[in-house]
């Protein structure tokens, strides 16, 4: 996978993850073009399109579009399910995720993505394992903060 973009129906970019080295200028150009292309498509159209020399796989969840660019050899359907699994992970973590969760906790959205995908490839496809890793980290931080509070108290 070369990159993943999350954007709203209004075309606002909510999350961007690039797995190939590109300049900021190029990233902005690609984003603009792709958001426009995808938003122009009608609901019942197929989830794949040829774009430049890449294949674009996208799916809409409520107000958010999840959009991945993959290479010629990559598998479109499994990419579609990568998107779905990511949505499931967000949903489980936030408890019925909505666009606002991703806006206000954008850093968490990135952390979850890093546990799931790395270098553009699936790292851990088990939902349980990914969430375990994230929750462990949350726990780690909470206990530490409690410790700090304790030390202030005493």
């Amino acid at each position: 996978m070369q990159f993943m973009l999350l954007f709203s129906r209004q075309g606002k970019l909510r999350l961007q993850k690039w797995y190939v080295p590109l300049s900021d200028k190029e990233k902005k150009k690609i984003t603009r073009e792709l958001v426009q292309t995808v938003l122009a498509r009608k609901p019942k159209m197929c989830s794949f399109l040829e774009w430049r020399d890449l294949k674009v796989v996208y799916k809409r969840y409520a107000s958010l579009y999840f959009c991945c660019a993959i290479e010629d050899q990559d598998n479109e359907l499994i990419t579609l399910e990568i998107i779905h699994r990511y949505v499931e992970l967000l949903d489980k973590y936030f408890g019925s995720v909505c666009e606002l969760d991703i806006i206000f906790n954008f850093e968490k959205a990135y952390f979850i993505l890093d546990e799931f995908l790395l270098g553009g490839e699936a790292q851990e496809t088990s939902k349980k394992n990914v969430l375990k890793a994230i929750e462990q980290a949350d726990l780690l931080q909470e206990t530490k903060e409690q410790k700090v509070k304790l030390s202030i108290l005493h």
Partner: protein
């Protein structure tokens, strides 16, 4: 009302099922969004981990901004605040630092530039608190900056975390390396990560991160990832207990195996074994790795992908085990679905399509290929658009296999139907591709006809490509050329605007080369031109063909010469300048073909609108053609305006264009042996000389014959030649000898690139300015150059930092410094490489650095000259040659050449004033060599005698060789 502005995106099927947690999420998203839209903005309830209140407030503020200006204002205020906090005297605690860095990150992700905060992020990264570290890493990963002092600090932090033995810290560090993936990181860590990956005591999650981290580094800097003992152990990760580790490792191994398949051959048997276990497992066996009742779909796809790096296994047992796996996957496609969820069918079909890709890749099991084809045939009529799209795409590759080509063909009606009925243009595009791929002689007429009829209403975005495809198929499978001519004329009629020059050039070439179709072509274009509004491209084809072959239909009174002329001329005023120029040429051809219309045409040429046309080209043609028709005898006219000779056989420029458009990889193989529509190739020489008869023969430049290997065509040649074993490039020295007596000029030129030189020399040093001009309108990528020379010549490219891209039409300058150590013969060679339109171009040019460039002229008297001349009397010191003059013997020119050669021209030294005498010293680092020369012309015999005397035999010989070539 809460659902205002929302649409349920998931299909109705899912609504029928009781929603699970995931299914509810979109609905939730709707409600929350609805609140959002109606202005009841609410903080999200979730505040997992640590809520950074300040951050949430800031984000709310931004969201409440009514305009872009307000947002920018709010952001600038915040940036000023953060800046002052960072600069302030009071040391910030970790939490505040984290909060501010997070705000900066948010601002950056909104699309604004951030130029500070990196240092604070680096501080966070070395914090002991997990969340601070995490935010630090996130900031660095997103805002990579090649700021050198920071890189070493960042790398230091990463190093500590990698060594910490704390798996969460190690994972953060590995994620950061994988996300940034820069060369600096590869240099620092590429050698360390393999050992983390294969160490026995590494945690599974760290192994997973390490594997994919290595994959990323291998993609960006493969040269820095050392191969070694670890590679064998990585392969064994395919046997790991933990399926997550296997999944990550499978990706890594696939990437590595693509580059060096031999080293990872052992992975084949392990991958087959693993795959076999997965496909035969019950769906619950794999617990959390089962996805909607499909066992480990991601891993299955990856294993199947890995196997596509290799040919079918040689070992019979292994091979049959793999075949069993593939059959099982194909069988499962026929089983009733275990769930109605789209996720179930997607995951299952993802594995199926990857299995079919492997079957096509192996291209060796006819039964599997036919089964795959039948399966795809079912999908062609599936109600899921996605599946129809993928089936069309996958069948395209299947069509090129000899085993399945016939099976694919049986689906022609379905595919044609898809072209007519699919509502999504991307699906229709796939249908066009498949029709193109499945076309052969047996169905060409049907497919071309369907494509033509579709073209009438086709989407603008795919018209040009379709036109090219129709043109290629029509030519490739033409049994009779009348059909071909009809098809192309139809193409121009239906989609004239999209018919590129290549297409109509091609139809003219073919008509000229095929005697039996010329009469038909003339008749057909004549009829087509009758239409009141016809496309300009048709006027071009019509003008050309009637100009050549109008005589073949002139016998019919309905198409008499005058009728033909009037018909063409009725279009003249509506056409653009190039077309009018072409028509003028057709008129002069008419004067030759039909003497009876000569007067009429002369009147037209004589009119003010022609003779005084504002366009120079039209005016010149009108004047010249008019003169030609007035003064030339019939015989001369007949010779000058003779029928065009057949075109030399060459690659179809249309195919080249399509390849260029699609990129070489995306086009199904074309059987080149079938491209024999052209006439014989023997006439290429004659063609050129015939064309030269008329001062500017319009047809020559029209067809672009002399520059045939235009960008497109040469691209095609490159594409077709075997790239893996490039022929040795010949060093171009065409213009080399022109530089013996001068220092500036063009040393190399082809269709893409022009190389100009400007050189200056002083004593034993030289400097050459090299100018690379991109003649195309496309960028050259990965441009690089190097100079190689013999030991006696030291060359050094000064401006090494040549920009790797050269824009279309732009020029790039480079400076080469040269030092001459001792006398030499071999010139340095300039090697250039760049990518143009996806193909690697390699050019080698001999740089015109010759011994005489290091001459310093020496003035001397007649007495001195002859004294030294006698001193250099040893036979080896003198080299003499007698040669015939190649150029007119002009004294001034010769003087200039001798001066240009670098010696002083000594006047009044030689008793015979007709002779030329020169003297100079060659400077090398090691020695200096004095040199005297004498050139004696014999104008009667048109001969020269050249004598050189120097203290060194090799120098005398070399200088004599160089100079004797110049007169």
């Amino acid at each position: 009302m809460q659902h205002y502005g929302c649409r349920q995106p998931l299909n109705s099927k899912e609504e029928e099922n009781p929603p699970t947690c995931m299914e509810r999420s979109p609905t939730q998203l709707c409600c929350r969004l609805a609140r959002d839209v109606t202005g009841i903005s609410k903080m999200p309830a979730v505040s997992k981990g640590d809520g950074m209140r300040g951050l949430a407030v800031f984000i709310s503020d931004i969201r409440n901004c009514k305009s872009k200006e307000a947002e920018v204002k709010r952001i600038n205020k915040e940036l000023a605040n953060i800046r002052s906090k960072f600069k302030g005297d009071k040391a910030l605690d970790g939490y505040s630092k984290k909060k501010y860095v997070c705000k900066l990150l948010f601002i950056f992700l909104l699309g604004h530039d951030i130029d500070f905060g990196h240092m604070e992020a680096v501080n966070l990264l070395s914090s002991n608190k997990y969340t601070e570290k995490q935010i630090g890493y996130l900031f660095i990963s997103v805002l990579v900056n090649s700021n050198s002092d920071l890189i070493s600090l960042i790398n230091n932090g990463i190093k500590n975390d990698l060594a910490s033995r704390n798996p969460t810290f190690m994972n953060l560090a590995l994620h950061c390396i994988a996300n940034v993936g820069s060369r600096e990181m590869a240099e620092a860590f590429a050698s360390q990560i393999p050992s983390i990956l294969v160490a026995g005591d590494t945690m599974d999650s760290v192994k997973q991160s390490a594997a994919l981290c290595l994959l990323r580094l291998n993609r960006t800097s493969p040269d820095l990832v050392p191969m070694g003992e670890w590679t064998a152990r990585v392969v064994h990760l395919l046997n790991d207990q933990h399926l997550g580790v296997v999944t990550a490792a499978a990706s890594l191994i696939t990437t590595l195996a693509q580059k060096s398949p031999e080293d990872f051959k052992t992975s084949i048997s392990l991958a087959v074994a693993r795959l076999s276990r997965i496909v035969t497992s019950a769906s619950i066996d794999l617990q959390d790795y089962t996805y909607y009742f499909v066992a480990a779909p991601w891993l299955s796809v990856k294993l199947l992908r890995l196997l596509q790096c290799y040919p079918p296994p040689e070992d019979a047992a292994l091979r049959s085990r793999l075949t069993e796996c593939l059959e099982t996957i194909l069988n499962k496609a026929q089983e009733p679905p275990k769930s109605k969820k789209v996720q179930h069918s997607n995951a299952k079909n993802a594995v199926l399509f990857e299995a079919i890709a492997l079957i096509i890749h192996h291209d060796s099991e006819p039964t599997l290929l036919v089964r795959a084809c039948n399966q795809l045939g079912q999908f062609l009529q599936h109600r899921e658009t996605n599946l129809r799209y993928l089936a069309l795409e996958s069948m395209c590759t299947l069509a090129s296999s000899e085993f399945s080509h016939e099976a694919v063909k049986t689906h022609i009606d379905t595919v044609i139907n898809a072209l007519k009925t699919e509502r999504d243009v991307s699906v229709r595009q796939r249908a066009v591709d498949l029709l193109y791929a499945m076309c052969d002689r047996s169905n060409a007429k049907q497919i071309v006809a369907e494509m033509l009829s579709y073209l009438e209403n086709a989407d603008y975005s795919i018209r040009e490509e379709m036109v090219l495809k129709v043109a290629i198929l029509a030519e490739k499978y033409a049994v009779d050329y009348t059909w071909y001519v009809d098809t192309i004329l139809n193409l121009i009629r239906i989609a004239g605007d999209y018919v590129s020059e290549e297409v109509w050039y091609r139809v003219i070439q073919i008509v000229i080369n095929q005697d039996d179709v010329q009469g038909y072509a003339a008749k057909t274009v004549f009829e087509a031109l009758q239409a009141p509004a016809c496309h300009e491209n048709l006027v071009k084809v019509g003008g050309y063909i009637l100009g050549e072959f109008g005589n073949l239909i002139a016998g019919d009174s309905r198409s008499s010469p005058l009728v033909q002329f009037n018909l063409l001329h009725s279009k003249f005023h509506l056409c653009s300048v190039p077309t009018r120029a072409l028509l003028l040429s057709a008129y002069i051809k008419f004067i030759n073909l039909f003497p009876e219309v000569k007067a009429t045409i002369q009147d037209v040429l004589r009119s003010d609108s022609q003779l005084r046309n504002a366009d120079v080209e039209l005016q010149q043609r009108a004047i010249e053609y008019l003169r030609l028709s007035c003064i030339a005898s019939t015989d001369i006219l007949a010779t000058v305006l003779e029928e065009m000779p057949p075109f030399p056989e060459r690659e179809s420029s249309i195919l080249a264009k399509l390849k260029k458009k699609k990129g070489p990889g995306n086009l199904p193989d074309i059987d080149d042996t079938r491209w024999n529509v052209n006439g014989s190739a023997e006439h290429s020489e004659d063609t050129e000389s015939t064309n030269k008869v008329t001062p500017h023969h319009p047809f020559t430049d029209l067809l672009n014959l002399n520059s045939t290997p235009s960008a497109g065509a040469s691209l095609l040649v490159d594409v077709l030649s075997d790239i893996s074993t490039p022929a040795p490039i010949t060093v171009s020295e065409d213009n080399f000898s022109r530089f013996v007596c001068k220092n500036n000029g063009v040393i190399y030129e082809d269709q893409l690139l022009q190389i100009g030189l400007k050189a200056e020399y002083r004593q034993n040093l030289g400097r050459i300015y090299v100018f690379y001009g991109n003649k195309t309108s496309t960028q050259f990528l990965s441009f690089s150059s190097s100079v190689t020379s013999s030991d006696t010549l030291k060359t050094h490219i000064l401006s090494t930092a040549v920009d790797p891209t050269v824009d279309g039409g732009a020029q790039l300058q480079q400076v080469v410094n040269i030092e001459c150590l001792s006398d030499f013969t071999d010139a340095p060679v300039l090697d250039i490489q760049f990518r143009y339109g996806g193909t690697l171009q390699k050019i080698a040019v001999k740089l015109p650095v010759m011994l005489n460039k290091f001459f310093q002229p020496t003035e001397m008297t007649s007495q001195d000259f002859f004294q030294r001349w006698k001193q250099l009397g040893v036979p080896q010191q003198e080299v003499q040659t007698i040669f015939k003059a190649q150029h007119p013997m002009d004294t001034d020119v010769t003087n200039a050449k001798i001066l240009g050669f670098g010696v002083a021209l000594l006047i009044g030294v030689d008793p015979n004033p007709a002779n030329f005498v020169g003297a100079g010293v060659i400077h090398t680092k090691n020695t200096q060599v004095g040199c005297l020369l004498r050139l004696e012309p014999n104008t009667q015999a048109q001969m020269y005698r050249l004598t050189l005397r120097t203290s060194r035999e090799s120098v005398s010989q070399r200088l004599c060789d160089l100079l004797s070539d110049q007169f």
